[in-house]
Symmetry: C2
Amino acid sequence: MWLTIARGECMPIRFRCPRQDCEQNSCPAKQVFSCLSSEQDARLGRERLARRYDAGQVVVHLDTPALAVLSIHSGRVQLVRQSGGDAHKVVVGTRGPGDLLGVREVLSAMPYQVTVETLEPSVLCSVPREAFLDVVRDCPELAMRLLKTLARDFLVTEEQLAGRAHLSVAARTARLLVALVDGHRPAATAEAPAVSMSREEMALLVGTTRETISRSLHRLSEQGAVKLENGSIHIVDDAMLERISEL
Amino acid sequence: MWLTIARGECMPIRFRCPRQDCEQNSCPAKQVFSCLSSEQDARLGRERLARRYDAGQVVVHLDTPALAVLSIHSGRVQLVRQSGGDAHKVVVGTRGPGDLLGVREVLSAMPYQVTVETLEPSVLCSVPREAFLDVVRDCPELAMRLLKTLARDFLVTEEQLAGRAHLSVAARTARLLVALVDGHRPAATAEAPAVSMSREEMALLVGTTRETISRSLHRLSEQGAVKLENGSIHIVDDAMLERISEL
DNA sequence: CGTACTATTGAAGTGTATCAACAGCTGTGG
DNA sequence: CCACAGCTGTTGATACACTTCAATAGTACG
């Protein structure tokens, strides 16, 4: 069943999860919860609600009370912070399938500190706050998993924070590129790994402007670290990127 | 029993905890663990080791394997990151009595991502990695507490990250001042709250240099937001600071 | 074929780092 | 007691990376 909704609002639509896996436990959105007892799992099953979003929609808005934890079934989303009234948006991270949204706010009983925007058409499952807290309390293994991912994410954004202090845009751009291809490497080791990402998105992640990113990339290609080719960025000299990312 | 140790190294010294509270549960370093069963508590008691540090000492160093979680009994410490070789140090946060150090690294099985330096003479208790993980696994309440503080701290440093992107040094300085006095307010509501902090330390927290902090503060005092008086900073116009912290 | 969006490139303006000099204060040792 | 070095804070001059504004080129799409 589909609905049309006024633009600007989010467009949540109840729907039946399209993946058969969802009934088994291989669904990415349920992976974290795979350690639950069948009883707990049944509870989440009853309370869970899947919703579909178009690309570029706002899923949750800054300062909204955190009534649920969202788990990403498919698609990628951005965590956005406004700093300085609504003058500038800053992307503090991106999340993908299997990741949870709103855990920090639900745990610390605060309203949402970020705005979550979809980057692609996405499907998200929501788990009500109370149900989530209950299963976390009841399942030490789940708590440990959450602690682990929270700890890891924390360290990542702390590294970003450190980088913002004294690193040039070129260095941060290089870091972004390295981070983006780091996962994809072992598979296609023969080919030069490529990144295809809008300058706008890169700028928000690096914490700068489209223009400066453009200049940075062209500087990097002049130096021979990357090759620019109709929109996509091919990493040529990995070692050079690492070197540049320290300046 | 005291030892002297070559300079440059940390100077851990076994000692008997000076506070009587330590045997009860009001010791700040044990507060987080107050929910443990007497059996678990006894285990930590056996494995815990208190150490004293002078001001300005390095407690744990970047890239050292995280073999233990430290809990702060007294004193304040800085979390420092190096970015760009060893060119620049960036302070990503400060911790005080009752706070834990190294939780993130122990949980995610990584070496230390930060260097911890004491700001004052401090006493820290160390809990070995395995013992810590065991009690967390066994005590859901402790896990929940850790999740909560991790979540809160995470949100705080994420806000800092967002601020670094497009906010001026003046704005970030104002934010720092507001944050510093926020805790102290209700007590001395009649007096203008004051901050006494070295420019160096402020600079590291704001992510800039001593000189720029100095100029920023003097600009703020010209505008009438603060008053500078033999080293300490008196907050005069709170609302103005809030306004400036948005630019 | 035009509209709209994204990417590129140029030129000007500015905030901040950097280098440097100096003042104030503290502790040290002759 | 003074002289000296060492540290912190202040202030000025300069350099530069980045933002901002603006114009142009490339690309997708109806």
